[in-house]
């Protein structure tokens, strides 16, 4: 039986909401300036991997409408940052809002066909709505991941159904910063509200099920209003399913939205319950999932629950505008421009930069990052084992706030951190509130984009205050 074996989520820390000067409307999640679809997909992937053997993932599909490169895969970066093995199939599924459900279907088919035992699908989107546009109150940022496999399935994928549909309802050209869209009434009435039911009704007919057979739904919708309309059209009780908190707290996260809804549903699901999953965009995909007993054995993870609540409200819209380069702020000081990184050096250092591998000396046992040929403690040469630091907790040893550093989010917080179990790293702290920074505060690592120079997105790990509920 093929199905979902694990899930994970990622919602950025910061929110525009009540308390944000210059913002009206529902609360929504906004990625930090150093996040993009790849970094959020890494965070969701790592959440989904809790309790799993990373060596048992045979494929990784990355679904997004906002890939950082037009030519060059995001999935390969994510697989490396998540420290998956290299003999796997990686693919980006892009260009459609339903990329997530398309990738899920591909993963399911691969496992069904026996070409892979476990495939991860990780989705994330960071779509930039034009300030003041109809999209701005609705569109939020986030990611989610599921692992599809045959063993220890927590939700069996009983069946699925897809339709394809050519329509200009929402789109972007290469190089577009903002979303383009047709008149909303046309897009909803001719597109969304007609086409998604085709997939759902086709699926129900195929399986001999009705809306009454589902206790939970994870259905894409452009916004809360159209979501309620859809439930009515599909014959669901809007009083039972009519409120999707994600619209009020996170926003429409594009290709990741139906997955985030699915994760939220799985978090509440009991064995035996059926979930209807449906994605929309250039057609629609619908899935029937049946929750199994295994869901009760799943290791605790952050999921939507924790990420929804562990949040900070941005003080002002200006900060968000600076993060997205919606305004062109002068740098804090007259500094020389950044040099682009060297592709050969990036390639040579990929294990230490992307997998965040350090070493442990076989002679003296000292852990050090980055990897050293000669042990820094005992001077033994080339005798070490690799150690992954990306999932280790750390504490803040010392820090400085650089008010003149080149960053879209001054001050730059430069830290020395000490890892649990040994090892020190000099790195930047992100997702921080300046007044809350304290020596010895608990930290964790987060994969981020340092900067984009010379057409190269330079990804690396930063530390963040441990993302826990207070």
């Amino acid at each position: 039986m093929v199905g979902i074996t694990a899930y994970g989520a990622y919602i950025p820390l910061f929110r525009l909401g009540a308390g944000t000067v210059g913002w009206r409307g529902w609360e929504k999640a906004v990625a930090n300036f150093d996040e993009d679809s790849v970094t959020m997909a890494v965070a969701a992937a790592c959440d989904s991997l809790k309790g799993l053997d990373r060596g048992n993932i045979d494929g990784l599909f990355f679904a997004t409408t906002t890939p950082p490169y037009i030519e060059k895969q995001g999935a390969a970066i994510i697989a490396e940052a998540a420290d998956l093995k290299t003999d796997i199939l990686t693919a980006d599924v892009t260009s459609s809002l339903r990329s997530g459900t398309i990738a899920l279907r591909m993963a399911m088919d691969a496992v069904k066909a026996g070409s892979a035992k476990q495939v991860m699908v990780t989705c994330a989107d960071l779509r930039v709505p034009q300030p003041g546009s109809e999209h701005e109150p609705i569109v939020g940022d986030g990611g989610a991941a599921v692992v599809v496999g045959r063993e220890n399935v927590i939700a069996v994928i009983e069946d699925c159904y897809s339709v394809s549909n050519e329509i200009l309802d929402i789109w972007r050209l290469p190089g577009d910063i903002f979303l383009r869209s047709a008149e909303e009434r046309f897009a909803a009435e001719e597109g969304y509200l007609k086409v998604l039911p085709m997939a759902v009704n086709g699926l129900l007919e195929k399986c001999g099920l009705s809306s009454q057979d589902f206790s939970k739904v994870a259905i894409y919708a452009p916004d809360a209003r159209r979501y309620r309309e859809m439930l009515v059209r599909l014959g669901f009780n809007p009083r039972l399913h009519g409120r999707n908190i994600l619209f009020e707290r996170v926003g429409n996260t594009g290709a990741a939205f139906s997955f985030l809804s699915l994760v939220a549903a799985l978090e509440e699901a009991r064995p035996g319950e059926r979930i209807l999953l449906a994605g929309y965009g250039d057609g629609a995909d619908a899935f029937v999932l049946r929750v199994t007993e295994n869901i009760e054995k799943l290791e605790r993870r952050r999921g939507v629950n924790v990420y929804l609540q562990a949040k900070k409200i941005l003080p002002d819209y200006l900060t968000y505008a600076r993060w997205r380069s919606l305004i062109d702020m002068a740098p804090p000081a007259r500094r020389p421009p950044l040099d682009p990184p060297s592709p050969s050096a990036l390639y040579r250092e990929h294990n230490q930069n992307i997998r965040l591998y350090g070493v442990k000396c076989k002679n003296c046992g000292y852990q050090q990052y980055p990897p050293q040929r000669v042990c820094s403690k005992c001077q033994t040469k080339d005798q070490y084992t690799l150690v992954r630091f990306s999932d280790k907790r750390a504490s803040l040893f010392t820090y400085s706030l650089d008010y003149l550093g080149l960053t879209l989010d001054p001050p730059l917080v430069v830290c020395f951190i000490n890892f649990e179990g040994g090892g020190r790293m000099q790195c930047v702290m992100t997702d921080r509130v300046i007044d809350e920074i304290k020596i010895s505060m608990p930290l964790e690592m987060s994969f981020r984009k340092l900067h984009t120079v010379g057409g190269i997105h330079n990804y690396y790990w930063k530390c963040i205050p441990a993302r826990t509920l207070e």
């Binding site: 000081a333 500094r335 950044l338």
Partner: protein, 395 residues
């Protein structure tokens, strides 16, 4: 191991005014510093048999020929030296070895830096240990030392106000000394409130915790003591030279405390051994140290053995390092008032010790100046290069 003690004499020195020399090129600065040294020694450029040139940032040529060209030193060896903030002192050190070895009779050491044509604030380049991938955080100089300040306050339980006030007192002291020095970039006293209320550059360091950026050059002419006697009676003797290079221990070792810099401790040990100094707090009459930031000077007090660990604040509060104190530090105003043209700073420090030991330091002249020390520290926490040099009066 041998030592340099009493094997090399300084017979002439020169130093330009430091500052924003919009109207002077590096060549102008080199000519000014060298010709002051020639006049001081009573020598001519043709007497020089070899030269060492220190500078850090190269805009175009990065060779010893910069000095040959400026001074028209025709067809003699000129070696360019670069070793971060120790560049000037390391050029001096290598020249000392050549003289002590008896290879040359008269050599010139010159340090120069022309920073203010770069068009940026701060230093024009921040060097990252991973050269190619650019993933290491940008850690410009103020941040490097701010990391130590944050930890020092925490380690010794100083409140932010206590820590900042201690640092501010160091800035006030150095500005007071610089106000007495016609060659300093900043010749202006500041008060404690100004220092405490200055804008933050790299928290917890504010504007007056940071040295300036300036242009300048300084030069020395060296020979063996027996030849020095024929030129002047008040030559200055090199007593000890220490150089220490870190191996990134502060970044690689999770037990490195960041409230001291081991490079300073070990460079000082070497220099003290050569000079035969057992109790630096008592035996040294003045020290010109690398106060690139006020916190650096605070750590240096402890690392050089002037103050016990954790007790530098008490000495600062007691005025121990002022012109009237037990061990005056940065009598010339330090980097705080001179700025830090990298290649020139080490020789500018030696210039102040040289003048103090000769009794020619004007309003800043100390009553007792027999043994003087200079100190440079540069690079990154954990892989600093540190130079310590000790000088004594002839006879």
């Amino acid at each position: 191991m041998g030592g340099i003690k009493d094997k090399v004499a300084i017979v002439g020195m020169g130093c330009t005014k430091f500052g924003e020399h919009w109207d002077k090129s590096a060549e102008d600065l080199m000519v000014e510093a060298a010709y002051e040294a020639f006049a001081d020694a009573g020598l001519e450029p043709k007497d020089i048999q070899a030269a060492w040139l220190g500078f850090q940032f190269a805009f175009g040529s990065a060779r010893g020929t910069m000095l040959s060209h400026a001074l028209k030193l025709n067809y003699i060896p000129v070696t360019r030296v670069e070793n971060a903030c120790c560049t000037g002192t390391d050029a001096f050190r290598n020249a000392c070895f050549a003289v002590a070895a008896g290879i040359y009779d008269f050599v010139l050491v010159l340090g120069v830096e022309k920073l203010k044509d770069a068009g940026v604030s701060g230093l024009p380049v921040s060097y990252a240990p991973f050269w190619g991938s650019r993933v290491e955080p940008p850690v410009p100089a103020p941040v490097q030392f701010a990391l130590a300040a944050t930890r020092y306050f925490h380690h010794y339980g100083l409140s932010f106000e206590e820590g900042k006030t201690t640092l501010a007192k160091i800035a006030v002291k150095n500005h007071r000394n610089g106000a007495l020095n016609p060659k300093a970039h900043f010749q202006k006293e500041i008060n404690l409130e100004q220092a405490l209320n200055a804008p933050i550059v790299a928290w917890p360091l504010g504007l007056y915790d940071c040295c300036g950026v300036s242009d300048g050059a300084a030069a020395a002419i060296l020979t063996r003591p027996e030849l020095a006697k024929s030129l002047r009676q008040n030559y200055v003797l090199v007593k000890g030279l220490g150089l220490s290079c870190g191996a990134r221990q502060a970044i690689l070792h999770d037990d490195y405390d960041m409230v001291h810099f081991e490079e300073t401790v070990t460079a000082a040990q070497s220099a003290y051994r050569e000079a035969g100094i057992k109790d630096p707090r008592e035996e040294i009459d003045l020290a010109i140290v690398h106060d690139c930031f006020t916190i650096t000077e605070l750590l240096i007090y402890e690392d050089l053995g002037f103050s016990p660990r954790g007790k530098a604040k008490e000495d600062v509060d007691a005025g121990f390092f002022t012109l009237e104190g037990g061990l005056p530090v940065n009598t010339d105003g330090g980097l705080k008032c001179f700025g830090h043209p990298i290649g020139a700073s080490g020789l500018r420090m030696i210039y102040e010790v040289y003048k103090q030991l000769q009794g020619k330091a004007g309003q800043r002249q100390l009553k007792k100046a027999d043994i003087g020390l200079t100190h440079n520290l540069g690079g990154h926490p954990g892989h600093f290069t540190c130079a310590v040099a000790i000088f004594g009066r002839s006879g």
